[in-house]
């Protein structure tokens, strides 16, 4: 109970800050997803959110020393999602910043963080929306972090170096978010000619293509963050079993 209150307090500054942000970039805007799809994505996102609350609570209870690091993962997503960056299509998008937290704390914990970011963006910045919160949460805070987490685990298992695992996980996670958004829109708006596939191709052309250089940037910045953590937070990373003692350079 106490830890739950703590978690709420931890989130408070973001709320008041307008955590969110975001941008013109990716999220599906208010009113742009037909009602039945809003409902479906909300139902799909909900179990991950509950799972995430439980896992974050458990972590904070078992290892209170890691609270600051969890805050850092949230702050990282907060900053990256506030920066709209020019891309190769001549339009702007922003990164998600959820990959770092996903590889450190597991993907479900980032579902909670991402959902908070999205909710406040929707409320304070008119980006995304409350009815599309479920769909946007599924894209940015479920699909992205889960992709990042499993890619990281897989690459490390087959012996990829730390930096390569981190880079690929964060970059692919970022891209996965935007591909998921494209798919969500394509399913709701299948083309008269060619159906969902044709429509997906169009939406992905807008979202995912714009996102490619940003995904690379997110990968690079996540490697940078992990470098800093390896230098300044070794103990915490060991507590997370993210780095084994012998794995430290």
């Amino acid at each position: 109970m106490k830890s739950r209150v703590f978690l709420a307090v931890l989130c408070l500054p973001w709320f008041s800050l307008g955590f969110p942000e975001n941008a013109h970039a990716m999220h599906i805007m208010e009113g742009f997803l037909p009602v039945q799809w809003c409902g479906m994505w909300t139902v799909l996102a909900l179990p991950f959110l509950i799972l995430g609350f439980r896992s974050a609570n458990r972590l904070v209870r078992m290892k209170p020393a890691l609270k600051m690091l969890l805050g850092l993962a949230g702050a990282f997503a907060f900053v990256l999602s506030a920066l709209k960056i020019p891309s190769v299509t001549g339009s702007c998008s922003h990164m998600t910043g959820t990959g770092l937290g996903a590889i450190l704390f597991g993907p479900a914990a980032m579902t909670v963080m991402g959902c908070i970011v999205l909710a406040f963006q929707a409320l304070l910045l008119a980006h995304g929306g409350l009815t599309t919160l479920g769909a946007n949460t599924f894209a940015m805070a479920v699909a992205g972090p889960f992709a990042a987490y499993y890619i990281y685990r897989f690459l490390r298992k087959i012996g990829a170096p730390l930096w390569l695992g981190v880079f690929t996980a964060a970059a692919v996670g970022d891209l996965t978010t935007y591909l998921t958004t494209s798919l969500q829109l394509a399913m709701a708006f299948p083309a008269a000619d060619g159906g969902v596939a044709a429509s997906f191709y169009k939406f992905a052309g807008v979202f995912a293509f714009t996102q490619v250089p940003l995904a690379v940037s997110e990968g690079l910045l996540t490697v940078l963050a992990v470098n800093f953590l390896a230098a300044h937070s070794r103990q915490e990373l060991q507590d997370l079993a993210f780095l084994r003692k012998e794995a430290l350079q």
Binding site: P13, N22, H24, M26, A75, K84, C92, K202, F207, H232
Partner: protein, 101 residues
């Protein structure tokens, strides 16, 4: 140890430079582009695929004007960076203290 630190700092610097180049290059290449948000573009695709679709709901509140909006974005970035700076400063101080004991 000093060699390693230097080396690491150089690597980190390279990462930052690469990100800056990735962000700046499109500005140089597409000089005429407006660099609007990608979700505005998506709106166009929706109208293309489903002509006549109009959003069934509008946001409860939107920032009055671009300046207020960028204020909120800047605030968000500032708060996040503030916490990140605090975190690493705190960790560094903790480490120094441990080493001095």
């Amino acid at each position: 140890m000093i060699g390693f630190l230097k080396n690491q700092a150089a690597k980190n610097l390279l990462l930052v430079l690469a990100v800056l180049i990735l962000a700046a290059a499109p500005l140089a290449v597409y000089r005429g582009a407006g660099f609007e948000g990608a979700d505005g573009e998506a709106e166009k695709v929706i109208t293309e695929v489903r002509p006549g679709y109009s959003p069934w709901l509008d946001s409860l509140w939107r920032p009055p004007g671009g300046e207020v909006e960028s204020l909120l974005f800047a605030l968000q970035a500032a708060l996040g960076s503030g916490f990140i700076g605090y975190y690493f400063g705190y960790q560094r101080g903790k480490k120094k203290q441990r080493e001095n004991c």
